[in-house]
């Protein structure tokens, strides 16, 4: 059992982080907290993707080692697939990180708009103000 | 002119409506003439078509709509054409009748408005009004369930707008009620149509017979019946009818009766013809419902004092006659039922329109405040009495042979279904006396007896017969009714060509 848990520990970590993020997004009353949760949530997904790319057994970072020009000249025979980590998830996650930070940026701008209007960032207070003023 | 005759009949009102819409500022008050004349033209076409059918021809016109399942085929046979003819004639007559009436309503509702707005109101009535003949002709002539649904669904829309724009006190609310009931009915209709399609893969009425014996047939017929009984305001679906009839402008009152009653034709067309055997199960329940509606409607009518509501409640009981005729399922009763349907709508048009004239001239709606009008308004009185005779089935009106045939059939069935059937038949026949009672009682109250001295106060002017433009169409209808009453063979031959083919006693 322990073996089983340890053998997939990064998956467990990603699940825990995802749930922490999700909880903060749904359950926290402070809007900034929600955004912090959103960041955690998104980085959990990124962690999951990065974990997909991992190869055990001596694989290294996906940057070609050795003489690039020589390899370029002699074809691909020397490149061993097993010795490099799968680069595709990394590519995807570069995009995802940028997307996540862009979302955060937009969300923070909206947050400032909300603060200008309601002078508070607590969900329950905002809802109360909305109810009172009919806005 | 003779080619695409049925298509012309359906399309002419639509074109006239469009022309009025586009030229409403120029055409102004002449919109009534345009509408009336276009309807006269299509009535003429229908007459021609009827003559052709009378000589044994069946007119079929095929128009492919965008897909193969939904077509726009039109069928003119001995059943559809006479009904279409009478309805169209009524529409034409009412178009002329309405010309003065709408002026009066606009003045009453909107007060003094400037010329442009006035023309807008006035033409709007005719734009909407022409939706009725379009819808009725469509319902009568099409042979495809979806096309029929389209026309059935089309009808409540002009009804809604006319009622909401030109009706009486509660008009907007009542218009909404009417629309809701219409949509409810239409929902059942489309449901049944789609169930049919899922069973037989076709929307054609002629293919409906493939449904015979199908286990789903019961449900399909039931849904169709619910849809159509809602339209016909048969107990227990009658709640909308008295309110609606009380508030609408009387110039479309006759059409409202048609609107409700055309469902009887649809029952014959889509249920009795193709699915006779499966329909027989419903015969008895429908007889009972019909009887209940008759009695309920008559008693309700007796209690009315409002002259418009009075006519409205009588519609409920009259509608049930047609249903009774259909439910009895004999050749004579079916023919009688259809014939009574025509007689009733003519009688109702006259009666309602006369009520409209009364409201128009006297400005009051309560019968008890009227009285002794006969001396001032002789022609109106005559019209009212003729209307009353038409509803009660006195000779020489067309409803006399109609009721005769109807009850011959009903008694035939009644005797076969002893004892329940016979009781129903006898009760139904007795219910006629109720009709006689309430129609003539009203005539007495309104036109005879002592005149109310205050009545001149409400009136817009001197109390006298209205302009000829309002009377002539009604007199014409009365004339048609008397002709058909004296020579019922004309229309019965047409009916018999079609209905006679059914394997019924």
């Amino acid at each position: 059992m322990l073996e089983y848990i340890i053998s997939k520990y990064n998956f467990w970590v990603y699940i825990i982080l995802l749930l922490i993020g999700l909880y903060a997004m749904l359950g926290k009353k402070n809007l900034v907290k929600k955004l912090i949760g959103m960041n955690i949530f998104q980085s959990a997904v990124i962690l999951f993707y990065v974990s997909i790319g991992v190869k055990k057994g001596g694989a290294t970072v996906p940057i070609f080692m050795g003489d690039a020009h020589a390899a370029h000249g002699h074809g691909q025979a020397i490149i061993d697939v097993a010795s490099y980590i799968n680069p595709l998830p990394h590519v995807l996650m570069l995009t995802a990180i940028v997307v996540s930070i862009a979302t955060t940026g937009v969300a923070l701008a909206v947050l400032i708009l909300i603060f200008r209007r309601y002078k508070t960032l607590e969900l329950d207070e905002i809802i109360k103000i909305r109810k009172d003023t009919g806005v | 002119m003779m080619s695409h005759i049925l298509l012309q009949i359906v399309v002419v009102p639509a074109i006239a409506s469009l022309v009025i819409l586009l030229t409403r500022q120029q055409i102004g008050k002449n919109a009534g003439w345009l509408a009336g004349c276009s309807l006269l033209y299509s009535t003429g076409l229908l007459l021609l078509a009827c003559i052709r059918v009378y000589h044994g021809e069946i007119i079929v016109e095929n128009y492919p709509f965008v897909s193969s399942a939904i077509t726009f085929d039109l069928l003119g046979d001995g059943l559809s054409l006479p009904i279409a003819l009478i309805i169209n004639m009524l529409c034409a007559a009412l178009a002329f009748y309405a010309m003065h009436y709408v002026e009066h309503r606009i003045e009453a509702i909107y007060g003094d408005v400037d010329e442009r707005t006035w023309r807008n109101h006035y033409t709007r009535f005719y734009i909407m009004f022409l939706g009725f003949p379009l819808g009725f002709m469509g319902v009568c002539l099409v042979t495809n369930l979806i096309a029929m649904y389209f026309f059935l669904e089309l009808l409540p829309i002009p009804l809604y707008f006319i009622m909401a724009m030109f009706g009486y006190v509660d008009r907007v609310k009542v218009a909404m009620i009417c629309l809701l009931w219409a949509i409810t009915g239409a929902s059942f209709f489309i449901l049944a149509a789609l169930m049919t399609y899922s069973q037989i893969g076709s929307f054609h009425i002629s293919d409906l017979s493939a449904l015979a014996g199908n286990p789903m047939a019961f449900w399909i017929i039931l849904f169709f019946l619910v849809a159509l009984l809602v339209k016909m305001a048969i107990v227990p679906f009658q709640v909308w009818m008295p309110q609606v009839h009380a508030e609408h402008p009387t110039c479309i009152a006759g059409l409202l009766a048609v609107y409700a009653n055309v469902a009887a034709y649809v029952i014959v067309r889509i249920l009795v013809f193709p699915l006779l055997d499966d329909f027989k199960v419903f015969s008895m329940p429908l007889l009972i419902l019909g009887l209940a509606t008759m009695v309920y409607g008559s008693l309700l009518t007796m209690a009315q004092t409002d002259v418009k509501r009075f006519a409205a409640c009588s519609t409920i009981s009259q509608l049930a006659y047609s249903l009774l005729g259909i439910a009895a399922l004999t050749i004579t009763s079916l023919e009688g039922g259809m014939f009574f349907f025509l007689s009733h709508i003519m009688g109702k048009t006259i009666l309602f329109s006369t009520a409209g004239i009364l409201v128009y001239t006297t400005g009051i709606r309560d019968m008890r405040q009227m009285g002794g009008l006969a001396s001032k308004m002789p022609i109106t009185t005559a019209l009212w009495i003729m209307g009353a005779m038409m509803l009660s089935g006195f000779p020489p009106m067309s409803s006399f042979p109609a009721e005769w045939l109807l009850f011959t059939g009903v008694f035939h069935t009644g005797i076969e279904m002893m004892p329940g059937g016979l009781i129903i038949a006898i009760l139904a026949a007795t219910a006629i006396t109720l009709t006689v009672a309430y129609t003539f009682r009203s005539a007495k109250i309104i036109f005879f007896g002592k005149m109310n001295p205050d009545i001149e106060l409400h009136a817009h002017g001197e109390i006298k017969d209205p302009p000829a433009m309002m009377l002539i169409p009604l007199l014409f209808i009365a004339g048609v009714s008397i002709t058909l009453g004296l020579f019922p063979k004309i229309i019965l031959t047409l009916f018999h060509n079609v209905i006679g083919t059914l394997p019924l006693p």
């Binding site: 922490i20 909880y23 990065v50 790319g53 940057i63 980590i85 570069l94 990180i97 400032i112 603060f115 | -």
Partner: protein, 81 residues
């Protein structure tokens, strides 16, 4: 890669995440979020995703924290939960 180190990093990450959403001072929470991102970077480097780690370090931990601080600065620092 060394799995013991990985696990320690993972624990740090989780602790930072929990701290970030529980601290009531928003500025502190944001700083902890920056630390969280930083630990995440190390974790990813450990897993061989150097490019991702660099981007996260610059964009996530850097720009993100700056944006958050700017926003918190413009609004309220205290949170009720």
């Amino acid at each position: 890669m060394i799995w013991q180190l990985d696990i320690i990093l993972c624990i740090f990450v989780v602790i930072c995440a929990i701290a970030a959403i529980t601290v009531k001072d928003l500025l502190a929470a944001v700083i902890i979020l920056g630390a969280y991102s930083f630990f995440m970077c190390i974790l990813w480097t450990e897993m061989g995703a150097v490019d991702v780690a660099f981007t996260e370090a610059s964009v996530g931990a850097g720009v993100g924290t700056v944006l958050f601080i700017a926003a918190v600065n413009k609004t309220k620092r205290r949170s009720k939960d």
